[in-house]
């Protein structure tokens, strides 16, 4: 099960693939928020921001669960483990921020703009995502987590 969640059969970790969806959708949701708040008020875009946010939260939860399978295999006491712990904590906060933003939008879904509080929460979520994504990139590009892993046998795993 862990092997599958780590993407070994595909020769490619699953977590870095799955996170495309929450990242892109959260970014788009914020762009749509900006369009209705600073451009033209529009119910279509308010709904668009809501549904992209919903898609981001759902795919984000899936990505988080898959990420745990990668996390447990990083040896304790390493820099990579510290970074991964920070990455995980920030992502939990981020999902809470976006989840709260989503919840607060349900009542105004019929309106033509996004209220301040959910908008601020989305901004906070994007900021957290930026830092967390950078840490995730460090894990891959500096610490080579997941790189060449599908070729390792059980004994040689670090």
């Amino acid at each position: 099960m862990k092997e599958l969640l780590q993407g070994r059969p595909f020769g490619h970790p699953l977590h870095p693939f799955l996170i495309h969806f929450p990242i892109g959708l959260f970014v788009m949701s914020l762009l749509l928020d900006l369009m209705v708040r600073f451009g033209t008020p529009s119910n279509a875009l308010v709904q668009g921001a809501y549904y992209t946010l919903l898609g981001g939260v759902v795919t984000g939860i899936i990505a988080a669960l898959v990420g745990l399978a990668d996390f447990v295999d990083i040896p304790s006491g390493t820099t990579a483990k510290q970074i991964a712990t920070g990455h995980m904590a920030l992502n939990v906060l981020m999902l809470i921020a976006f989840g709260a933003s989503l919840y607060l939008r349900t009542e105004t879904l019929g309106g033509t703009t996004v209220p301040n509080l959910p908008f601020m929460l989305s901004l906070a979520g994007i900021a957290l995502m930026g830092i967390s994504g950078y840490l995730g990139g460090m894990l891959v590009y500096h610490h080579a987590i997941g790189v060449g892993r599908h070729r390792e046998n059980e004994e040689a795993r670090p």
């Binding site: 490619h12 929450p22 892109g24 788009m28 891959v140 500096h142 390792e152």
Partner: protein, 175 residues
């Protein structure tokens, strides 16, 4: 310029970070298309799909520029070179398909309640090609080590090589 586009100043390759946006938005556009085609969501999702494609295209321009800078440093005799060439070729087709899709939607998206058959077909085809191309991109990182350790503060390439972990040489080793 090449070093800038590769993300040296950032300490992290830029291309894999930027591609999150078009990959997700174009896939989301397909989902919105499938919903409106089946009568769900109406004009709100028709508009959302349109903006998703447009934002995806804008960000994809940045992805192309940074991707070319990455491709430049993969030597022709490396296995990743051929993967990179296919990745690039597919992405050119994907970019062209979404551009055509936008052209087909631009006159009707403000009013339409559903997506047309042709744009929907383009969304499906482009998304399939994008997944193949994305897989090739991921293989370049996770199987071939492109971008791995290239900008790292601590040089761990030798240690990683002993574990069979592929890495990419820092800039300058190409010549």
């Amino acid at each position: 310029m090449k070093a800038f586009l590769q993300g040296r100043w950032f300490g992290h390759p830029l291309h894999p970070m930027i591609v999150h946006v078009p990959v997700a938005l174009w896939t989301a556009a397909l989902v919105f298309d499938l919903l409106t085609f089946n009568g769900i969501g109406g004009n709100a999702l028709v508009q959302t799909a349109f903006y998703a494609i447009v934002i995806g295209l804008i960000v994809a321009v940045l992805a192309i520029l940074t991707g070319l800078a990455e491709y430049w440093d993969i030597l022709p005799d490396q296995p990743a070179h051929r993967i990179g060439a296919y990745h690039m070729g597919l992405n050119v087709v994907v970019f062209a398909l979404w551009s055509v899709s936008v052209a087909l939607r631009v006159d009707t998206f403000r009013e339409a309640q559903t997506v047309g058959v042709v744009p929907l077909a383009i969304s499906i085809l482009a998304s399939i090609l994008l997944m193949i191309s994305g897989y090739l991109g991921g293989r370049m990182i996770f199987d071939r080590g492109i971008g791995v350790q290239r900008h790292a503060k601590e040089d761990g390439r030798e240690r990683m090589a002993q574990r069979g972990v592929p890495t990419q040489a820092p800039e300058g080793e190409r010549a």
